[in-house]
Symmetry: C2
Subunit: 320 residues, 2 copies
Amino acid sequence: MKIGLDTMGGDFAPKNEVLGAIAVLPELKKDSEIVLFGNETQIKTVCVEHGVDPARFRIIHTTEVIGMHDHPAKAFTQKPDSSMVVGFKYLSAGLIDGFASPGNTGAMMAGVMYTVKPIEGILRPCISCFYPMINGRWGILVDVGLNADSKPENLYQNAILGSLYAKGALGDENPRVALLNIGEESSKGNLVVKATYELMSKTKDFNFVGNIEGNDIMTGKKADVVVCDGFVGNIVLKMAESVYHLALAQGIETEFFGKLNYEFHGGTPVLGVNASVIIGHGSSSPTAIKNMILTAEKTISAKMVERVKEIFKQSTILQK
Amino acid sequence: MKIGLDTMGGDFAPKNEVLGAIAVLPELKKDSEIVLFGNETQIKTVCVEHGVDPARFRIIHTTEVIGMHDHPAKAFTQKPDSSMVVGFKYLSAGLIDGFASPGNTGAMMAGVMYTVKPIEGILRPCISCFYPMINGRWGILVDVGLNADSKPENLYQNAILGSLYAKGALGDENPRVALLNIGEESSKGNLVVKATYELMSKTKDFNFVGNIEGNDIMTGKKADVVVCDGFVGNIVLKMAESVYHLALAQGIETEFFGKLNYEFHGGTPVLGVNASVIIGHGSSSPTAIKNMILTAEKTISAKMVERVKEIFKQSTILQK
């Protein structure tokens, strides 16, 4: 597979991006290849400085850069030769199998909506993250920031997408899907979540196990997929990430806490769109970039597009 | 001061309640006294079994119990001789200075609304919790579960109450108040939070420092008081509590993680009402009960009622 990487969008571009790409080479599958989008001279300079032959990568030279302070939608149309726009063109044309970037998240989403577009039937794409469970397995939290205001049907679709992603990326055969709430009873929660519970309780589209509270997310006892809106999910994700740093500040390093470090996966896939797109932190370190590329590889392997299309053919509700 | 304790409402009543009351005796201030509401015989039996003279407590005998599965509002009116209802009567009459219970939270709130009532100008009371910051200080999170659906004016009042509580209970002179959000910029967040930011940015009622993200809550770098709705706050609180257990499961015990144990404070005060009311976990251990009583003592000392009344006289906005 061909994994595209935007090398110009991060806070430390292109150095961290190229170093991450170099670091990931020994860990990639045999048939995986990295395609770097960005300033060819700068990319090659980083390679040579670190004793790596630039021929290890395919480089697509671009002349423009979308920065963190650029207006997302405008930048995407006004900078046609930026690494991000060219990357999306390649993705759209099927010349690469996935595209990862630590750049401007808004511009990335504009790219998604302008080029590869949501899958037919998806109301709103969302982003997810893996989180570690103390039982040693991984869980999936969805949405972690794309849709701060969500309706029941959005949360319902998040659940479908999270469940499919757990099957594809984690190999869960029948992932338990729970709704993040403030109590176990169906009567608990805010208005949106109460209505969502009603919808989910009747579903055959995924294995709904009921509500889950904040204290049970990381135990793994109740669920493999936790569903919430992007406002709550983003706060939960960032709080979980902070636990890694709180542990470090106390001189504690463990395997479990290490998995809470954002670098461990490096990026979150956009779910519900017609291609594998991975969004990373702007300040990604080389380690984070390396792992974002591995997350991209895993997401492409998960064949999410095919899975989502398939289930949206079968699903009897919530297609508009 | 006189601190009332409902000994019949918890999952392990009255044993854990009485053991907690016994345990707290050496730690109370000189002029503090505990008043136990509940079945006198059962209370005395627990005392004697543990070699404690029941005369150490004032006991108000009651014959009924509001259970966890009782309908909150109905139970409050239908069980007039329950430990909880009698406790609220004493509180309302000024015979005790505060009332703490690990019982049915809904019934406790019915008690608040029926008897002591919200302070004039308060749209909705809320509950708060202390959380540890890695800098060694404590922060206050508000609301942590009472109002799952909140409007901007509710969050604004939460901020006033949290700020006053930080002054009274933590001794912060000018607590930094932040709005929990998914980004630092004023444009970030869901619709309610964006409107709340607008309200708060103009305030003179508290020291508003802007948005705070999930990863900064426990660092203490940005805020002493974190404001959110009860849905988000409850999830954040329970997730923080779970970190204590996740650390324990890895064989890790530290002072900081220990402060995340719910037993450490044992209860959360209801803010914005005409008396000090503390709500605890239904499954409270004796240690949790002990610390809930100390939280009650601290809350009474904070003179919240007077402080809130005073500022609501001065505050120029959001009094309805």
